[in-house]
Symmetry: C2
Subunit: 332 residues, 2 copies
């Protein structure tokens, strides 16, 4: 046990990552820390970033940004609150972009600012830093890499097998086409963004947020050097299960896991990440009360298993989950 506020680094994707980070920020602030961002770093998935009609989109960066700023549309699960779609209607009339992919007007402000900064020569890391300055986020956000990485999905479509962009599969087809494989072409030559490796090595606690293990956490772990950093860090590495009682809390992780031949269960996802003491990533794994029966199986894998309420139905509940993750790491 350690009474000082630990330095915490969270690997995170979109919605699950956002909620968890809001909770973790609360736990840091509860400890009387004003500048929570000095203690809390988010390494964010950029695998589903994309260029659309000349504009750069970063879905997970923006989900986390908006959630931390308190301007997100929590009900819909993505984008800004009080959003409108004037520009998107025009784009449809022009036949530009993807008609099934809605760009909100407020959201487009972010995309255009980002696009301008990138075209001016700023790196994605510098752009994310600039985006983070507008509000008091209390989290230092880092993209997992400054290299442009796509996520492609190979699907079965009737008798055909074809490959499509993750967003097309996710948003247009709502994951209805059976995925056979997920690929991040070029990721083998990607580099962790500046500060990412340090944030893992210098942390006291590293948390794998309850995000999609395949398409959110997966790409982060696929960046060369990331697994080595996680295995080398002196931090405790704790994961929070995105699966409760054999089902996804939100999103389509179940379908993604199936493509990997992994059952949708808190213990199988723990096994996917693996025990650090056996060459994997996790020191500890936090499962929901509903999954208490899985604790022995997880311990069997070599991972310390802890039980807590994992439903993040609001700021307090999210903070409780974050506290439990800190607890699992040995910090209170």
């Amino acid at each position: 046990m350690n009474a000082r506020t630990p330095r915490i680094t969270v690997l995170a994707g979109g919605v699950g990552g956002s909620r968890f980070l809001v909770g973790m920020r609360e736990t840091v602030r509860r400890r009387g820390i004003d500048r929570a961002q000095d203690h809390l770093v988010a390494i964010v998935n950029t695998g589903d970033d994309l260029w659309l009609s000349g504009i750069r989109l970063q879905p997970d960066i923006d989900s986390i940004l908006y959630a931390l700023a308190g301007v997100n549309d929590a009900e819909r699960g993505w984008g800004r609150r009080e959003e409108t779609e004037r520009v998107a209607r025009e784009l449809r009339s022009w036949g530009a972009g993807w008609p099934w992919f809605t760009l909100g007007d407020l959201d487009l402000g972010t995309h255009i600012a980002r696009t301008g900064w990138l075209r001016d020569g700023l790196t994605p890391t510098q752009v994310v830093e600039l985006l983070g300055r507008r509000w008091d986020l209390g989290v230092r956000m880092l993209p997992m890499t400054d290299t442009e990485v796509d996520t492609l999905v190979t699907v079965r479509d009737g008798d055909d097998v074809r490959q499509l962009h993750f967003q097309e599969w996710w948003t247009r087809h709502r994951a209805a086409l059976t995925p056979l494989r997920f690929d991040n072409p070029g990721i083998d030559s990607a580099l962790p963004a500046p500060g990412v490796t340090e944030a893992i090595l210098d942390a006291d606690v590293v948390v794998l947020a309850p995000s999609n293990p395949v398409v959110s956490i997966g790409p982060i772990l696929a960046v060369p050097g990331m697994r080595t950093a996680l295995q080398s860090t002196k931090a405790r590495v704790v994961g929070v299960s995105p699966i409760i009682d054999g089902a996804v809390v939100r999103g389509m992780a179940d379908i993604c896991l199936e493509a990997l031949g992994v059952a949708t269960s808190a213990d199988t996802v723990a096994a996917l990440y693996g025990a650090r003491e056996r060459g994997g990533l996790l020191d500890a794994w936090l499962v929901a009360e509903e999954d208490r029966a899985l604790v022995p199986a997880i311990r069997e894998i070599g991972i310390r298993a802890l039980v807590a309420p994992l439903w993040m139905h609001g700021g307090t509940a999210s903070a409780d989950v974050a506290e439990a993750a800190l607890g699992a790491s040995g910090f209170e």
Copy 2:
């Protein structure tokens, strides 16, 4: 005199060019021509096109596009009718773009579609052709060049002399800083866009629209090959004076002319373009009734001078001006 519908090519800038083109389209349609675009080509100034926050803007192309489509804000003189500025407010909050340069939401739809097509590898000519497909414009629009050309203004600012982008001078400073010079760096290596030279050479009538002679018509004429084409064409070349009774109809042509040492008068602008028979560009020059007294001076330069009402206060008035221009060319 010739009873068939002539092929007409108009060199045009923003507002003056738009109004004139709307009128010219009407004269073509009055002759029972459904596809006016087979008879009417606009070669449009792209000298004040710009990249802003990663987005490509083409102010004169859009002014003409919106006016021909009937979706322009005629009162304000630029942009779309029923425009809103949700995205622009966001961009200001992000500190992106130019706070003094408003991008309307509907207008941004155009900019983003264009940006996407350009990033996909289409040429500006192809992009303008795509933009023109949405409505029945009745005019074939061609950018003057596919080469990116800027317009820079050298101004006196107190005791300083400095250079700024045309849009900054025009929109931010409302031309309040005294211009000393206008430059289009790189224009010497620009090429006329595909179809431009042909549209001049194959026309029956070429019209210099009543646009700003310095910053709208000037850059078009500065594209290498343009003057030669105008001097070689078998067409009659007619200009319509943008100056009535010693004053600009709209805009800031007077300030621009002053930088060139040219007085704001219908005859001095005619002299600036010059008589084709003496190595200049004009066969004929249309002046307003208010400027009837200048006719002898213009004839003295070697240019046929004709008098007509030149106020384009609506579609009918614009069509009358266009008819007068056709009449000046020898077509009725």
